[in-house]
Every structure is written in C-alpha cells, then in structure tokens.
Amino acid sequence: MYFKKIQVLKVESVNDEYFVLRIRDKELTQNIKPGQFFQIKDPCAVFPLLPRPFSVYEVEGDKLSFLIKKVGESTKHLSLLKEGHIIQLLGPLGNGFPLVSNKKVLIASGGIGYAPMTYLEQKLKEAGNEVWFYHGGRSSNDVFCEDVQNCTEDGSCGHVGLVTEHIEKCFDSIYIDVAYACGPEAMLKVLVGICAERNIPVYVSLERVMACGVGACYGCVIKIKENDSIVYKKVCKDGPVFDGAKVIWDE
C-alpha cells in the first residue's frame, strides 16, 4: 500500500457517462491483484472530503488506469481533470479476486462492474484458464469491449436481455468451475442463486461507501455468514471480493 500524489497522465472520455483516468508510476503498479482498488482524490478539491474507491482497470508496465462512471460530485470532478493535474492515490487496497489456474471460468459483470474484469481476465488467461466473459448493461453506452459476450437490456448492442439470463444458458451448455462477478447487487444476488443451484463457487466484488479504505474505521461493513453466525466484515479490507454464498444481501 502506498500513498502518493502524482500527475494525471490522461483523462479519456469513453462516452457521456464513462471515462478512463490514466496515471503512470513504478511503485503503484507493482503487485496489483485483479479486484484491488485505490482511494483517489483531488487534494485541491476540499469537498467532497473523502477520497473515492476505484477498481484497477488496466495495468501495463508502469501504467495504470481506472474506468470511472460519472455518478456524483467526485466522479464528475475527476472527469474534468487535465494532464498534469495532481491527484492522490492510496493503494492498492483490498483482497482482490482469488485466482485459479487451468480451469473453465466465468466472468460476469454489469455496468461499471466491468472495471475490474479485464485485468482479471488477463490474469486468469495467463494462468491457463479458459474464460467465458459475459457483460451486461442497460444500453450500448454501458458496453466497453466487443470481445466479450455483451448483453443489453434495450438490445442496442449484443444479446438482448439481462446478462444473468444469458449466463444461465451458458451454464446449460458448458461446465464452469468457478465464477467471478462484479456489478449491481441485484445482478450479483441472482447470479449467486444460479451458481448455488449448480454448485459453482462464485466470487463477488462488492461496493460500500468507504471512509478510510484500509480497515481502520469499520465504516464499510457488510454481513457475512461465518461458521453458523453472522459477522460484519469490512468491504475495504476483508473484501471487496467475497465468497458469494456467504454474503447476506441487504433487503
């Protein structure tokens, strides 16, 4: 884990809603596991006070990028930054996805849940796994790459319908050893159900509002089943990746 103030390399708009923030740094790019994240903030903007967590999108040599959706003040502010502007990063944080090797694996993402998945796909492939990558979104705006099985609710790109529907079909035709997912909780919940029916272990990456991001404040907890009891686990440190079967979903 490092805390550094460094220059923005580039902010690239993907479309109206999404952008990619790129930086370059030798230290920060060492030993990042897929599914880990950074706490990012523009130190010149006093408010919002807290940094915001963003998953690692792509790592290439000393280059690191984040795929970010504009949803509120911090993300809009970051989208407007120019090359050379100083931002602060704390990370890499969190556990990241547990990797397997030489297996048949499924990657499932929804919307901005796509962010941690390309790096995960790369690492899984490097470890000799065969990867099925399904991604869902509302429309073609939420689709980031043509090389995956894209599903859109409005049919504007790829398959029509919910990504979980298409994943179920996929499960019917292929034997999958393990699944990885990131996306809206409604989607994750359904997916965990589908996987449970088939006894497929599934790792889900979750989001919670964070303060410290490192495990110090107990602010970001979720309920997890642990030996017959239910305990609060920190999404920032014990997660963000959890065994889907153990997650107690919010109503």
């Binding site: 602060q88 110090a216 404040c217 602010g219």
Partner: protein
C-alpha cells in the same frame, strides 16, 4: 530549538500529535513509521466483543462526516492477544481508548489492561450509554464523571485521560469534576450529534438515524469547547475536532491544548499527522516561540 516535546500526565511525548480514537489503525503502519507520532491512540476497546451497528454506518455530508460505527471491536481479550503486541512494536506512547456500560465494568477493564506491559495511558470514552443510569451517556452528568474518574484513579497509576462529549450544556462543569476526581488530562471533543436524510426515500442516511458528526464542520465548535475547558481546569488537554491542517492544530494549541489529535482527516490524508508535526515545529521556529509558551498563548 523548539522540539515541541511535551509532558502529558505521566507521559513524555516527542511531539504533541496523536490520532483520534476510531480513526486510525495499525493498517497505516504500511505507509509510515508510526513511531513518528507523539502517541498512538487505539480505537475504543470494550470488555466484550462488540458487533457494532447495522450499516449504513458512514455518510459524508456537505462539509463533514457522520458515523455510527457502534464501537465495533473485538473485545479486550482479543485486543490483548492480537493488537497490543503489534502496538508495542512502535517507539511511542500508547493510549488505549476504553468504554464499558457501568463504573465497575470500566474498572475491571482497566484492571485487566493494567496487567499488560506497553500501555501508557487510558482514554475514557464517556459518550457511551450507562446502564446504571437509564442508558444515558456517562459523559452528560458531572457527578457520574466524578465517580467514574475517581474509581479509575483508585484502580490505575497510569495516565488517565477523560474524553469529553460536546453534547452537553456545560462542558466546563464536567471537565472540572474529572479534574477534581484525579484525571491526569482531558481529551475533547468527541463527535457532535448529527443526522442526514435521503429526501428521495425519506429514510435517514444512517441506519442508526443519529450519528457522530466530525470533520472540518465541527472545528469552530471544538475550538470553543477547548478554550472554555482550558480556562476552567489546570490539567493538560488533548484537543481534537476537525483538525485538517497545521493552522487548525495551532488554533487549538493557542486556545490551550497541550496536544492535538487528528481524526477524520486521516481518511483524507493519511500522512497529515506528519505534516502537522513538522508544521507546528516550523511555526515555533519562525515565530520564535517555544512550544511550551505557545500553549494557551491566546491574546484576549
């Protein structure tokens, strides 16, 4: 010159900066050598493990932070086994923050911790509900604060710091009773009560409805509490509440604080404490004033 060393109760600090309970953890040791701080303050430890409150536990408001963590902690036994040995590795003072639900429970907790080496002080979190008094917080009643402090004073020789809540009519009365009962120092302020509502769902943003309000927004409130208490007592004050810069820290010291703690700002800038340590020293040098003389140097 100007090494900014201080004495706080029976402790010597190499500089006057620590962290506020609940806003810091050993996790930060990956970022810097925690021995650089004047003291380390643990999150609040209770006799039994505490699961804490239901989420949502953290809400950022326009200019501050609301939290309702509910003192989630592994309990004192686990703390002694797991965390304490880690804390001991750092060459600085260790302040263990504690809480309990009755005076006797507080005393047993201190007794248990007193058997352990490496603890320099206890910070008594009196913002928690007192089961012997209809669940009203210990810290709202000067007499109860007196009784609690007295009992703990009889229990331990270590530096005893009472951490005061600002949510009272007269913090001076409470401060004075803590002093009268033998406290070595006072820490203030704990969080203000605050609340936020999501107007779309009409639900409180915190599951617990009301939470503790911290960060830049509360600094002027904290400062006036510290100033008033500094006028009322002779024991040293560990000040906190929104400190986010050297300037903020200096305001508290000038108002009468012997030492300061950084809380919420740790989340914003985990190395903020180090910048503040350096900045205080630089101020003393550039203004040609000793740290000792800076304390309470307000010109009224």
């Amino acid at each position: 010159m100007s090494k900014c060393e201080i004495t706080f109760g029976k402790m010597k600090w190499k500089n006057p900066v620590t962290v506020a309970s609940g806003t810091f953890g050993l996790e930060y040791a990956e970022l810097f050598d925690l021995s650089q701080l004047g003291a380390l303050t643990t999150k609040t430890i209770t006799p039994e493990p505490k699961a804490g409150n239901e989420p949502q536990r953290i809400v950022e408001t326009e200019v501050g932070l609301l939290n309702s963590i509910g003192l989630q902690n592994p309990g004192v036994d686990e703390f002694i086994k797991i965390d304490l040995p880690e804390y001991r590795k750092f060459d600085t003072n260790l302040i263990v923050s504690i809480s309990a639900s009755s005076i006797n429970e507080f005393a047993s907790l201190v007794k248990k911790l007193d058997t352990q080496p490496g603890i320099d002080a206890y910070e008594i979190n009196v913002s928690c509900p007192n089961v012997e008094n209809e669940g009203i917080a210990f810290g709202t009643d000067p007499e109860i604060v007196f009784d609690l402090t007295k009992k703990l004073r009889e229990t331990t020789e270590k530096t005893l710091i009472i951490k005061l809540s600002p949510n009272v009519t007269s913090i001076m009365d409470i401060a004075k009773q803590a002093e009268n009962a033998g406290a070595d120092g006072l820490a203030l302020i704990n969080t203000l009560y605050g609340m936020a509502i999501d107007v779309e769902t009409r639900k409180p943003k915190l599951h617990n409805i009301i939470g503790g309000y911290s960060g830049p927004a509360i600094k002027p409130v904290a400062l006036q509490n510290v100033y008033k208490v500094a006028q009322a007592v002779h024991i040293p004050i560990l000040a906190m509440g929104g400190i986010s810069s050297v300037n903020d820290a200096l305001e508290f010291i000038i108002a009468g604080a012997t030492a300061i703690a950084v809380g919420t700002y740790n989340f914003v800038n985990p190395l903020g404490t180090l910048e503040i340590i350096d900045g205080i020293q630089e101020y003393c040098i550039s203004h040609n004033i000793s740290y000792k003389n800076l304390i309470g140097s307000i010109q009224t």
